[in-house]
């Protein structure tokens, strides 16, 4: 359990160091994700099944609890009540319509490219 948390932190730290020192456009944790994925890809060559391992359980727990991790940031809304009073309706409508358009564009492009590439495998 602690070893796995340490592994995640080592990957994040290495990602942070790489991202900063090479001035990558990517955030540190994303670089850490790529590093861990490369380590795991090498690992599964020898032991193919990650499912059911402690690593799988701990990370499923973390990723499944992602929502909680956004609560402290979201509570910051109490600092923005003045702005929301002035522009709240416009902001919320903008975000709702933009989120719908973004999801439609994404899912549409996904399915279109899948259809095009599916015909010629």
């Amino acid at each position: 359990m602690i070893a796995i948390l340490a592994l995640l932190l080592v990957c994040q730290l290495a990602g942070e160091i790489l991202a900063r020192s090479l001035a990558l456009p990517m955030p540190g944790p994303v670089v850490g994700l790529i590093l861990l994925a490369m380590v795991l890809l090498a690992w599964v060559q020898r032991r193919p099944d990650l499912k059911g391992t402690l690593l799988d359980k701990v990370t499923t727990f973390l990723v499944g609890g992602l929502g909680l991790l956004f609560v402290p940031t979201g509570v910051g809304v109490v600092q923005q009540l003045g702005l929301l009073g002035d522009y709240g309706v416009g902001i919320v409508l903008t975000l709702i319509i933009s989120a719908v358009l973004t999801m439609l564009a994404t899912v549409g492009a996904f399915l279109l490219v899948k259809r095009w590439t599916g015909k010629r495998p």
Binding site: V71, I97, S98
Partner: protein, 238 residues
Amino acid sequence: MNDPFALWVYLSSTPLLWLTVTLCVWVGADWLALKSGRNPLVNPVLLSILAVGAVLLATGTPYARYFEGAQFVHFLLGPAIVAIAVPLVTNRRIVMENLLPLLGALLAGSVTAIVSVVLLGRLFGLPPDVLLAMVPKSVTAGVAMGIAEQIGGSPSLTAVLVVLTGVIGAVLVTPIMNALKITDYAARGFSVGLASHGIGTARAFAVDPVAGTFAGIAMGLNAVLTSVLAPVLASWLV
């Protein structure tokens, strides 16, 4: 006799109290979400923010003091992003099968997220500083705040807009995809992860593991692409 006010003054200044409040409120909100059969409208993130926010306002607690306790939860955002490598590798076969659709969807979605929010915001008469803070709203919190700083928006406003966007996508994705009769869970997950980062990803994992994996990939890739696109598009649009 103990003075309850003195006790409150002491406790409300410790990280212990606000960390405990955050976790307990979350447990309650998640229980409600579970009881509702994971109804998308009963979103645990939204419920928790409303409840904790109400407590802070009622007790006159400044956000900075609350955050001293809540930062221990907030800190885990980074390791949780790294952890997405695990479902990514476990599902590597289906990811490779969908590589081209995934890249096409990433480009279409990332550009739509940035351009649509600026154009709509202008349509609704929002001032330029709010527009700038909105540009990275589909990107996960820490990264979005960095992008906002870079393009001249307020990071603390961006953080709130990011969470709002996350909740909106998590609430709307299931009804929209069901109405469109889209049954490809890779495509569904990817779209909510792109539009609504980690909160959308949490929703996707609650629905289907493949959807969750694709949502996580979309969140990671969109963080990268938006970091590149936002400075260019923002100077052009705002």
